[in-house]
Point group: C2
Chain length 378, copies 2
């Protein structure tokens, strides 16, 4: 069932002190809500987004076909996260490029486009900004905070930064921090952007160009890490986009043109992404991923870090996710168990790799439905 | 024991017809030899190189410290491949950038630098060129052909193209073809090079520039795939290059500067590579990798493809190699067994990922020594 939604915007006039010590000048956040806040204001579910997503979590925009939110399969009337019961909030994070204040906007005092001077943000900063939004909406405590991938990190951080403001944390396809390989992929993507001559040190807006070459490479790398080896082989294998005639192999024998289907797919994804995503946002968000590490201030001991958490937890991982493997989710489960927290954990046998958290796997959607129906009180 | 070697060069005046149908004009190959060819000319071992290597397989260059060949730990007097017994040949492949004719050289008729017009090469073409070199050296049959990674593909192809010219094929950390993910990584690396404004469509030589940005990205991606997740975590983990003072995390909070050790390592590797590797060579060699697929002309049936092979085989894989995993080597073993070929197979439990084939794992070097001592006749 399609339902229509409209984004809203809230301005925050008091500056936000960031984890880095820098100060975020007055800013605005774009958000959407689905369902109705109950009289006790106790049925709010906050959805945190990952790298490439936004506040537009569910529903459609009127008059815009194909405008369904990125988790529309999960969230809505009668869905796993049922908006007949819950008041769901999607919020675009600071520094993003989909509505909230980001590097493409002007500093309110100087009037100059932030560009590369936008403050460096962390998951903790996003959570602080989200908490302020909840204050403005008059919500003291969340029924649940929910997120996948980087969104899952924000959900985890909520339980540590505001332990008494969240009753459940649902953390999907996430990790307690990035490992060296995760950081490595982020770094290559960032280097591709930063070394694109059209990046101009992050001040490309005033040159009226966009570092599309770098953004394309960044997105291609991302896509490789989002898919499992298996699903890539099933979907693309070694299929040629167009077999050449007149030779036994069907190869065109070209080093620069597309030969294999997988190349065509990656180039298409890269092109599409470079048309809408902001280069500085990409740097900021990947850096927030790199920096997230709640155990860091506790000598690397995740269980010590989670001693503060009070809520109940649900963790979900996917068997073929090699970006944030089940092993990483189990580390979180173990840290919570050692603190005698209530934890549910589902390891879904799904072929799709990291991307599975956005897809329609029935077991996954059922597990989520079951948790929200039976565990999360409104 | 250090021994000194000197590269040699042989010119081939008759053109080489390539798999693509194109014709390679007269060219030269640079090669080295170690040990002595016996009177029966029966003790020759050909070593085929991978992406980034050359004819300089073993020994050192006089007066050049740190000039040991890339497989010097494996090959030499008294080593696993003992040059007191075997006459070992290392040859730089066509299209490479270390001596043999490549895209940075001039077309012998037009005098123009080949650049992007250098013919597209395949593993099969390299093997044909190597066979001509053996003809010139008066070697009819190899005691063994040996290679790792892309070099292993050449060794495999030898057994199919010249089944009666090779008695043993030793194939290390290789695969019967690239899977979609392997091609995907190659394609991202190529796009980074091709879209670098300094690439000039492959004719950058005449502009006196080098597409270093693209080469750096290509190499960084490569390095990620050469290392295992485990070894990256052990070696780099989340270590900061230099912890900032005055905050609990030690982070500098920067999106463009180096924060983590792994970033520093990758940038260093990328910089180094971009100083010496040719961009067109990178395209040619990764494309040869993409194209290799001996089963392709046999309806995808590897066992049918290997029906032609006559020699004995030794395959080696490494447990943590995710670029060419043990599974891929086992596919080859299975195809050979189904043809009742004599096959040895060693799966080495090594932490280093794909790079392991170049490293000093004692079990690996012992397995190779044992095979060359006990199975390979001189």
């Amino acid at each position: 069932m399609t339902f229509f939604v409209k984004p809203q915007t809230l301005s925050f006039d008091s500056p936000l002190v960031l984890q880095s010590g820098a100060v975020m000048p007055p800013y605005s956040l774009t958000y959407e809500t689905y369902g109705t806040l109950n009289a006790e204001r106790s049925n709010a579910v906050l959805v945190c987004h990952a790298l490439n997503a936004s506040h537009h979590v569910a529903g459609c925009y009127e008059g815009q076909p194909n405008s369904a939110g990125w988790w529309d399969n999960m969230i809505g009337p009668g869905k796993s996260v049922d908006t007949n019961r819950f008041f769901v909030i999607g919020v675009n994070n600071l520094g993003s490029c989909f509505g909230s204040t980001g590097p493409m906007h002007a500093h309110p005092e100087t009037g100059r486009i932030y560009g590369a001077d936008f403050p460096v943000l962390t998951v903790e900063d996003w959570v602080n900004a989200q908490a302020r939004l909840l204050d403005a909406l008059g919500i003291q405590q969340l029924a649940a905070v929910l997120g996948g991938s980087l969104g899952g990190m924000q959900a985890l951080s909520w339980t540590l930064q505001y332990p008494d403001r969240v009753r459940h944390a649902v953390v999907v396809a996430s990790a307690p921090n990035l490992n060296a390989e995760n950081i490595a992929f982020n770094e290559v993507a960032r280097r591709a952007i930063v070394t694109d001559p059209d990046f101009h040190g992050g001040h490309f807006y005033e040159h009226n160009v966009v570092p599309k070459r770098g953004l394309r490479i960044a997105r291609m790398i991302g896509h490789i890490t989002y898919l499992s080896d298996d699903v890539m082989n099933t979907k693309f294998g070694r299929h040629l986009r167009q077999a050449a005639e007149g030779n036994a192999t069907g190869y065109q024998y070209t080093t620069q043109d597309i030969e294999f289907e997988i190349e065509s797919y990656l180039r298409y994804q890269g092109d599409k992404f470079s048309d809408y995503f902001d280069a500085n946002t990409y740097l900021l968000i990947t850096r927030a991923l790199d920096y997230f590490d709640p155990a860091r201030s506790y000598g690397g001991h995740l269980s010590t870090a989670f001693a503060r958490a009070q809520c109940q937890f649900m963790l979900v991982s996917f068997s073929t996710d090699w970006r944030f493997s089940p092993k990483r989710s189990r580390e979180i489960v173990q840290a919570l168990l050692s603190n005698r927290r209530t934890v549910s954990y589902a390891e879904i046998d799904a072929p799709h790799g990291h991307d599975a958290f956005l897809l329609d796997d029935p077991r996954y959607l059922d597990v989520m439905r079951s948790y929200f129906e039976k565990q999360v009180t409104a």
